[in-house]
């Protein structure tokens, strides 16, 4: 791999990282608005407010970057970067179509999960370093929630990796068969629920529950750092949607996969992102104890059962 290639790949991944979350964010603006009988942004950019998030970005850049006096300055300032970089790194190994990937990693599934596990530290650091009780509560909620939901997520991903016989994301897609939609369905449901919880989106947004604890770990953040956290949230949706597509929906598999593989991946991932947005509009927030019950009493057993089914199937068929 030459230096030029590395540069080109990095730039492309960075561009995707900056553009796709904005697309998801704009979709959320419009979809949520229409689901609530509104129109959403209509002015920025002229046509149906397409540039609303660009305008938001400009606004955030103009705002004062406040660090509270009592805060732990370094940790406070570093937290958004930790959140953001984790998802950037995760995005770099997600394949778009056969052979088109930022960096082809052998154990891609583990890589993405590991990168996102590091991203968990962002809200935690933010929550603690803000020296604000609401932030701290939010940080603790985030920690408890992300710890609980990482396990079912890893179990569901492990089931797919077991079925495919490889940890490589491209390899999983190549092994994928439409029948997987049926017998990996429990795993897919577990993964989707855990992914929404990992993203701290409704109905699992207790860490940021604005009606309970102001805005959780982000309470004290302003300006660009706040925007980075929001960008990380939407980048998280992009990463999770792509990962779900690759693991459970067969990535670029579909009619004319040779020519239109990238389109299939994007369409499937967009559908998953749409579902994540849809959840946010349709459902209320769970209570904190319901969250833990759901994780440990429903998702973990389901994930284990799926893993067992997959294991038996793999042993029987090979």
């Amino acid at each position: 791999m030459s230096l030029l290639e590395v540069v080109v790949r990095s730039v492309v991944v960075l561009a995707a990282f900056l553009v796709l979350p904005l697309l998801v964010g704009q979709t959320e603006h419009k979809v949520m608005a229409h689901m609530q009988g509104r129109l959403g942004p209509m002015y920025a950019g002229g046509f149906h407010g397409w540039a609303q998030l660009v305008a938001d970005g400009v606004k955030f850049a103009q705002k004062e970057d406040v660090t509270p006096r009592e805060a732990d300055r370094w940790v406070f300032r570093l937290a958004p970067a930790v959140s953001l970089v984790a998802y950037l790194v995760a995005l770099s190994v997600l394949p778009l179509t056969s052979g088109v990937v930022g960096a082809d990693v052998g154990a891609g599934v583990l890589f993405v999960l590991a990168a996102m596990a590091v991203g968990i530290l962002g809200p935690l650091m933010a929550g603690w370093a803000s020296a604000n009780k609401y932030s701290l509560l939010g940080g603790m909620r985030a920690a408890a929630q992300l710890l609980s939901y990482e396990l079912p997520m890893v179990l569901a991903a492990a089931s797919v990796a077991l079925a495919a016989g490889t940890l490589s994301l491209s390899g999983i897609v190549e092994q994928w068969h439409p029948l997987w939609l049926v017998w990996q369905l429990p795993g897919a449901v577990v993964f989707l629920v855990a992914a929404v919880a990992e993203l701290q989106r409704v109905p699992f947004d207790m860490p940021m529950a604005d009606s309970e604890i102001v805005f959780g770990p982000l309470t004290e953040y302003t300006g660009l750092r706040f925007a980075f956290f929001l960008l990380a949230e939407y980048a998280g949706i992009v990463v999770m949607s792509l990962l779900f597509t690759v693991l459970f929906l067969g990535g670029w598999q579909g009619p004319f996969a040779a020519a239109l593989g990238w389109l299939w991946t994007l369409v499937k991932a967009s559908a998953v992102a749409f579902v994540v947005i849809w959840f946010r509009v349709a459902w209320p927030r769970l209570r904190e104890d319901q969250l833990q019950r759901l994780a440990w009493l429903v998702l973990v057993p389901l994930g284990l059962a799926q893993l067992a089914i997959t294991g038996v199937w793999v042993v029987l068929t090979t």
Partner: protein, 173 residues
Amino acid sequence: MTTLDVLFTAVGVIAAASAVLSVTTRHVVHAALWLVVTLGTLAGCYLVLGAELIALVQVLIYVGAVVVLVLFALMLTRAPVGPSAEHDTGPVQRVAAAVVAAGTTALLAGVLLAALGGRTVQIHGGSTTELATQLFGRWVWPFELLSVLLLVSLVAALAISRLRADPDSEVRS
């Protein structure tokens, strides 16, 4: 010196430095965060050595779960912003810790140098398949024993937490 040597040295130095900072800092949470850096750079060491899977598992388990748990426990108990003197250790303990650390370092260095000397060992077995073959073939009994140990500790932890619960108030389901 190859690129990998340089990388390994850099990652190793960062790992060692952050490890030292982790035990010397007076901020409780900073210690945990320096531990993140140490464990992360340790994963980098594995990566440079070609053990991709180990590196990723290291990040996933240690950074993603263990340290998050540590931070959670810290926040749940007491984690003031700023240095806290109450968690400081006395001079005797410090000296003892330094002696133990130096002893362990000397022991490990001695054993490794005696065993390998200046020889260069060809790295192999970094791939996932080979690792799995080794783990579930040659080392399957230690692996299973470790699983049993973990299960025992899990059950024990559960038992302890249930025992301490107030007998009047039922454990809420």
